[in-house]
């Protein structure tokens, strides 16, 4: 890897203008959490509904969740999203390094 820093000028001074606030570390973590769980939920929904019919699932569930396949798709997608987000959040919490 060619990576020796020889910068004679501070590149940050050139690229960073005034204006938007920087993202604090916590915001970045939250963004990663939300985005990655979203992507996982999208792929999971695709695979899941390739096999299962939401209409039948809603019937089987016997819950008053509303009618039609659209509801089934949407609810399951958010369920996946929530599940992935919870797993991600717990992972982040549990692998957190102690502050010195």
């Amino acid at each position: 890897m060619v990576a020796t820093s020889m910068a004679t000028t501070d590149p940050d001074a050139l690229t960073r203008g005034p204006g938007a606030k920087a993202w604090p570390r916590a915001t970045q973590k939250r963004a990663v959490l939300v985005w990655i769980s979203f992507l996982v939920a999208a792929v999971m929904s695709l695979l899941f509904f390739g096999v299962f019919d939401p209409e039948r699932l809603l019937e089987t569930a016997a819950l008053e969740l509303g009618e039609g396949r659209e509801t089934g798709y949407a609810l399951m997608f958010f369920f996946f999203w929530l599940g992935a987000a919870v797993a991600g959040w717990l992972t982040l919490r549990l692998t957190r390094r102690q502050r010195p």
């Binding site: 060619v2 990576a3 004679t8 963004a31 659209e70």
Partner: protein, 462 residues
């Protein structure tokens, strides 16, 4: 190496201020713009194309049918979908190993929509310096109308994007009518707003942050890199020591490398890095710095390509091997998957039959006529013409269907048919395999077979 790792670790969650990428002209900028027009064009025009009296591309989720031009995919074609996902993954491996982050620089929706949103921003607020100045300026009339105009255009584009996105899942004509008449359903409204909001957030605000912090591919792609992978890189040997100089005074360049330290490469970078510090994971290989640097090289009368697409091997003065084992492996896997996909797509059965054995009774003794089993045949006609199907059964001597043996199924529909099958006592012993044969009467190319079990009383096991 140590410095590189440290750099990345520090950079990972470094707090960042806003990046104002400067406009750039050149070969790669044209290529990027072309990619943007083609890809966005496909996306926005897609839902409005027609094919045989229906929308050409429609993922009809409520009906669980995907129409893609002449092809209609059913849930039974799930394997094709799974294959397609795997093919997409492997081709990403293949192209990454071959040409680096081509995907990131030219084809990723994040890049493409960001490009479009930055273009709108440029129309309203001007190029880099003007934008920086405007952001510093107090809120006067000029700033208010420019910022408002940009937001209105952004929101309009984002909403239209959401509309087109939902148009892939709901017939777009109906969707339009529903919006105009205010009868649009809850979920459709929600998804239009959801996708619109995601576009606005990702392309208008988060931009390079998505690539730097949120994208999984950006973090994993280095695993597919080797020293023969195409990367955007700065020729350190040629450029250093860098330094400013006047074109009119060649003596000033004495002892200096070709880099004039004009920092244009940094200013045009959408992710705000300095390519001269070496290969960095933030680099999406968009080659904006290549274009910017070439302009300066031309002005100075130096040779182009101080920053260029090259490989680490080429930079070390060795030859770049395109045909290397890794490429053969990726290509072979990709080729095999594509062949299986194409074969399955072309030979997709036109009629599908699923046989469900009746669970209530194993068999029924119907006296002289023999032993009867009952089944439910789930017949699916995937063609766009009506099919008259003839049913028969084979596998045991004297076995036959005693219920209706012809059935008509409307185009693109499925049908559940109860069927009784009878076999004489002497052949109906224990559990045995039988085969249902379904043949189309109006199209002799369409036929399919499905295995099932036929049960009779247990015979003498000796």
């Amino acid at each position: 190496m140590d410095t590189a790792v440290k750099k990345v670790n520090e950079g990972l969650y470094r707090t960042e201020a806003k990046i104002y990428p400067r406009d750039v002209k050149g070969r790669y900028a044209r290529l990027r713009r072309l990619a943007m027009f083609v890809l966005l064009g496909i996306f926005y025009i897609g839902p409005f194309l027609r094919w045989d009296d229906r929308q050409a591309v429609l993922f009809d989720l409520p009906a669980r049918k995907f129409h893609i031009f002449s092809v209609t995919l059913w849930p039974q074609d799930f394997l094709l979908l799974a294959l397609l996902l795997i093919i997409a993954g492997v081709s990403l491996f293949f192209f990454t190993a071959l040409a680096g982050r081509l995907w990131c620089g030219y084809a990723c929706p994040q890049t493409v929509w960001t490009e479009a949103f930055v273009w709108i921003e440029r129309v309203f607020e001007g190029d880099r310096m003007k934008r920086m100045k405007l952001d510093r300026a107090p809120w006067n009339f000029n700033k208010i109308w420019r910022k408002t105009g940009k937001q209105v255009a952004w929101i309009a584009l984002a909403l239209f994007t959401g509309f087109c996105f939902v148009g892939y899942f709901t017939p777009v004509g109906e969707l339009y009518t529903q919006i105009v008449t205010g009868t649009i359903g809850g979920w459709a409204t929600f998804w239009v707003l959801f996708y619109g909001f995601a576009t606005y957030g990702n392309a208008g605000f988060m931009r390079e942050q998505v690539c730097k912090y949120m994208c999984p591919y950006a973090r994993f792609q280095s695993a597919m890199f080797d020293k023969d992978t195409l990367i955007v890189t700065y020729d350190q040997a040629r450029g250093e020591p860098r330094g400013g100089r006047s074109r009119k005074n060649p003596a000033a360049a004495k002892g200096l490398g070709d880099c004039t330290d004009c920092t244009l490469c940094v200013q045009v970078c959408p992710t705000g890095i300095d390519i001269r510090e070496g290969l960095q994971y933030e680099c999406i290989a968009c080659a904006a710095c290549v274009d910017a640097c070439n302009v300066v090289m031309d002005k100075m009368g130096y040779e182009r390509g101080l920053i260029r697409y090259t490989t680490e091997h080429a930079l070390e003065g060795r030859t770049t091997k395109v045909l290397r084992p890794r490429m053969f492996v990726y290509a072979a896997v990709l080729g095999a998957l594509l062949s299986v996909f194409m074969y399955s797509l072309i030979n997709k059965p036109a009629v599908i039959v699923d046989v469900l054995k009746d669970r209530n009774a194993l068999y029924r003794d119907i006296g002289l006529r023999g032993i009867e089993n009952t089944y439910t045949l789930h017949l699916i006609n995937k063609t766009n013409e009506r099919q008259q199907l003839a049913l028969s059964v084979e596998g045991l001597p004297g076995i036959e269907i005693t219920t209706e043996t012809t059935v008509t199924i409307q185009p693109e529909t499925s049908y559940k048919l109860p069927v009784a099958v009878t076999a004489p006592h002497e052949s109906a012993v224990g559990g045995q395999n039988i085969t249902f044969v379904v043949e189309s009467i109006n199209n002799d190319k369409i036929n399919t077979r499905e295995e099932s079990r036929f049960r009779g009383p247990d015979g003498n096991t000796l």
